[in-house]
Subunit: 360 residues, 3 copies
C-alpha cells in the first residue's frame, strides 16, 4: 500500500461502526488514503476489499451484489469476498490471473468493524481487549462516529491530555479546576501508555452526582486514559463516596469509553466513539441523550479548536514547529514518540524487504 503520508499499517484500525454496514449495501470509506469497500455476506460476516476494480479502476462500491460477490458496474467483472475474480463475461471469458482485488482482514468487536491494512499477516491478538464494552445491558452502551478535518494525532493528544477539560468544556464535566494543577501519573507497559488523575471534588462531577449515594457531597474521582497503537484511547472515569473503594470502573459510578481514530488522509480523521456505563444501564432515553451530549461536546468544543490547530500548523510534524511543552503534555508526547518509532520501524522493514538499505 503506497500512501502519500506514512501511517502505521500492521495494526487494527476501526473501519466503521457495525451499524454502518447494513444488509445488502456496498459501503465505502477511504482509510489511510485508500478507498475501501465493505459489505456483509449473507451470513452477516463483514468483508473488505480495495474499492477499485483492477481492470479499469472503477470503484466496486458503485456496483451491485451477486450473492456474496460484487459485480463491477462497468464491464461486469465479478469478484468474490476474497477479491478473486470469478467471472469475466468478455471474449472467451477466461479470467486473467492478475484479476484480483486486494482484500483486507476484518474483525467485528464491540460494535466496531476493525480492519488490518498492512502487508504483514493480520494478528488477532494485536487488538487490545476492550471487552468491558460488551458487559451489561444493551441500553448501557452507545456508539457514534464523526469525520473531522484535522490530523489524527491531534485527537490522540486531546484525549491523552485531559487538563483541557476545565478550559474547553462546560459545567457538566467540570472538575472545578482540579485537573490542571495535577501532573498525571504516567505508566507504560507492553507498548501501552496510561495517564491517570485522581482527585476529590464537591459537588461531584455532574455526570455522576445524581447517581452517587449523597448527591452534592464530596466524592473521590479518577480518570485513566490508556493508549494503544495506533490510536485506541480507552478512557475510564468514575466517582465514589466510599473512602475504601478502589478507583476503578467496578468500584465507582463510572463509565468505560473507547475513542478510536482512523486517518482518512493527513487532513481528515474518522473519529469513532463508544461509551459503556455502570449506572441506569437500562434507560434507553438516557443512553441516547448521553451519546448525543458526548458527540456534541467534541463537535462544538474541542473539535473547532483542533480544526483551527490543524489549519494553523500547516504541517503534521508537531515537533518541527518547536512547541513549548508543559507538564500536561507528558502523556501525548510519550505517545507521539512511541508511534513515530513504530512507524519508522515498519517503514524500515518495508525498505529492507524491498531489497533497499534500511537506513536509506
Amino acid at each position: 500500500m503506497e500512501t502519500k503520508h506514512k501511517y502505521l499499517t500492521n495494526t487494527w484500525y476501526v473501519a466503521a461502526l457495525s451499524t454502518e454496514v447494513d444488509g445488502e449495501a456496498l459501503f465505502k470509506r477511504t482509510l489511510l488514503e485508500t478507498p475501501v469497500l465493505i459489505y456483509r455476506k449473507a451470513d452477516g460476516t463483514p468483508v473488505a476489499m480495495r474499492d477499485r476494480c483492477p481492470h479499469r479502476f472503477v470503484p466496486l462500491s458503485m456496483g451491485t451484489r451477486d450473492g456474496d460477490q460484487v459485480v463491477c458496474p462497468y464491464h461486469g467483472l465479478t469478484f468474490d469476498c476474497s477479491g478473486k475474480c470469478t467471472r469475466n463475461p468478455h471474449g472467451n471469458q477466461a479470467i486473467p490471473a492478475a484479476a484480483k482485488v486486494r482484500s483486507y482482514p476484518l474483525l467485528e468487536r464491540h460494535g466496531f468493524i476493525w480492519i488490518w491494512m498492512g502487508d504483514a499477516p493480520a494478528d488477532e491478538s494485536a487488538l487490545p481487549d476492550f471487552g468491558t464494552l460488551d458487559v451489561g445491558h444493551e441500553n448501557g452502551i452507545a456508539h457514534t462516529y464523526m469525520k473531522w478535518p484535522c490530523y489524527y494525532e491531534l485527537i490522540t493528544d486531546n484525549v491523552m491530555d485531559l487538563s483541557h477539560v476545565d478550559h474547553v468544556h462546560g459545567e457538566i464535566i467540570t472538575t472545578r479546576g482540579q485537573l490542571s494543577p495535577m501532573v498525571p501519573k504516567l505508566e507504560e507497559e507492553n507498548g501501552q501508555v496510561a495517564v491517570q488523575w485522581n482527585w476529590s471534588q464537591t459537588p461531584p462531577m455532574l455526570i455522576f452526582n445524581d447517581f452517587l449515594p449523597e448527591p452534592g457531597v464530596a466524592a473521590r474521582h479518577f480518570v485513566r486514559v490508556t493508549w494503544s497503537a495506533p490510536t485506541n484511547l480507552q478512557l475510564t472515569i468514575g466517582a465514589t463516596q466510599d473512602d475504601d473503594a478502589p478507583l476503578d470502573y467496578e468500584h465507582t459510578v463510572g463509565q468505560y469509553d473507547l475513542h478510536a481514530c482512523t486517518p482518512e488522509d493527513a487532513d481528515n480523521t474518522h473519529y469513532f466513539f463508544a461509551t459503556r456505563r455502570n449506572h441506569i444501564e437500562e434507560d434507553a432515553e438516557f443512553n441516547k441523550m448521553k451519546i448525543e451530549a458526548m458527540h456534541n461536546a467534541f463537535a462544538d468544543e474541542d473539535g473547532p479548536i483542533l480544526k483551527a490547530v490543524h489549519q494553523t500548523m500547516e504541517t503534521t510534524d508537531f515537533f518541527s514547529l518547536g512547541p513549548v511543552l508543559i507538564s500536561s503534555d507528558l502523556g501525548p508526547v510519550r505517545v507521539r514518540r512511541l508511534l513515530a518509532q513504530m512507524i519508522e520501524r515498519e517503514q524500515a522493514a518495508k525498505t529492507t524487504a524491498a531489497g533497499q538499505p534500511a537506513t536509506a
Copy 2:
C-alpha cells in the same frame, strides 16, 4: 504553447459547436490548458486567438467588438482577427512591434468549429472526412456538448470499447448480452483504428426496431467505431432484416455519429457529439428527443463511472497502474499506444527544434 500536461497539438480539435459562437459575442473556452477567444467576423467566419492581451494579460473575451476587431477592456489596445495590434491609444500611439496575440487557424465543418493549436502549419487535409454528417435533412442531425470532469482518454476508451453497453446502459440499446462475448474485429489503416462488432438479435435494438420492416423479428446488427487522432470517434451503428444487405450506414436502418473530445486540462474534457440518422429524418421532435436521450445516457450512465475512475486513478497514466486487460480492451489499448507515440514524436521534434538533444 507551454502546458503542464502533454497533448498532441499539431492536429484539429473541436473548439465549439457552431451554434455556441453566435453573432457579435466574444466566446471563450480553455482548450489544452490555454484560454482561447473565438468570435465570428461580420461575414460569419469564425476566428480564434489566445484570450490574453499581450500588454497586461487581460482576457480579451472581457472586451468589446470594434467591427471585426476586439478591444481590450483595460487600456483599449485593439487587435484584428489575426491578433495584430492595430490601435494603441496611449502616448504617441505607436504600436509596439511585439504587440501581437497568437491566433489559431480554424475550420468550420459538420456543425463544429475545429482549432489547430500546434506550432506546425495547419493542415486542412489532416481533418478526417466526416461528410456523412452533412448529408440529409436538417432534422436528421443533432449536436450536443458537455464538459466532463475526467481525463479525455477515458472517454476515448469508453467509446472504443462498446462491450460496456449491456453492463452500463439500459433497455433502449441493449444487445441482449451479445456484445460482451465477442472479440471485436480490429483494423488499422492510415493511422486510424477501427473496431467492429457484428451480431444478430431478437428483438432488434429498440432504437431501430420500429423502423425495420418487421418489428420484433430477428435482425443483423453492426457497430463500427473508427478512431482518428487526436480524439475523433466516428461510430456507425445499424440493423437490417435483409440477409444480403452489407452492414454499413447506407444499407441498414442506422446512424452515423461523431464523438470528439478536447482536453480542457488533465482533469476536464470538452465532450462534443453529433448524430446523423437515415430514418424519419424530417421529424424534428424525434430529433430533439434522440439527442437528449444520448446526452443523458452519457451524463447519467457512463459519465458518473468515468468521473469516479478519474478520481480513483489519481493519475492520467493508465498503464502505470498495471491494469488487468481483457479482450475488449483491444481497441482502446491500441489507440492509447498510438496516441502516446504521436505525442512523444511531437515532443521530441519540439525539443530538437529548440536546439536541445531530442533524446533528453
Copy 3:
C-alpha cells in the same frame, strides 16, 4: 517570519481600519501569510501578536480577554500585550522561558492601524506623512476595505497607471479621452515615485463639476499619484477654473486619497482606501455616497479585470511573461523595479545575517 512568497517586511502595512478593531473583540487577519491577532487594550491602544499559541498552536483569537491579556481557549495559557506568557495553570505552574508569542509593533494613523512585521526594529519615521487625511471636518473623510483575489502588485499597477480611467470607468470620472494620449510626468525622490497628468476638459470631471464656480465650463485638472513602499498609493486629484491657481489639493476643488494594499498571500490582497475632500465637507450623506461609489467602482470595474488578470497570469512574476509595455506603464514598471530591489536587498541581508553567503 517564513513565508512561501517573498514580501518586503521591514516596512509598515495597513493591518486594519481603526473601526474594525473594536471594544473587547479579538480581531484576526492573515497578513503576509501570517495569522495575526489584533485587539485594543482597555486604554484603546491597539496591540498585535501572532495568532498562534506557542504551546499547541491554537489561534489565540479563539480565546478570551483577561483585562489587557489574552487567554488561550485550549489550556488557559495567558499572554500579555507583549506576547509574554504570564500564567500557566498546569502542574507547578512554572512558565516555560520559551512561552512567548511574537508581537508586532503597531501605529494608529489616519483611521488605519499599521503593522511592522519585519525583524528589524520598527521605524516610525518610515511611515510617510499622510497628514492631509486628518485635516478638515469628520464628514469630509471616509474609509473602506475590501479583500480582493489578486496579487497586490496588480492593484499598485492599476493606481499608478490612470490611463485606464477612460477605458474602464464610467461617465462620472471620464476625462473625455484626455488621459490616454498623455505620457505622465514621472518624478522620483527619496524612494518615492510620483506620476502626474495635467489637462483641461469641458465639461469638468463630473465629480467636481457642481462644486466649481462655473459648472459646465472648461477647467484645468490634475491627478498625481505618489507611491511609497510597500504599497501606499497617495492620489490627489482636482480641478480649477482659476487660470493662475497651482494644481494641487489646496488650490483646486479636489480630493486627497490613500490606497494601501497588504498581501494576505500571493493570491489575495487586503485593499484599504481613504478619501478626504475639500468641498461640502460637512455633508454626511454625500460622504457616504462618495465612499460607496468609489468602493463599487473598484469592485465592479477595475476589480473584475484584475481578478481575471491574476488568474490568467498564473504567476506573480509579471516580467517573466514578457509583457508588451506602452508609455502608460512608466510609473508601474518603475515601482515594480524599485520594490523588487528593496525585497532583494532585504532577503540578502537576512541571508547574510543567518551566516550564509549573501549572494547564494
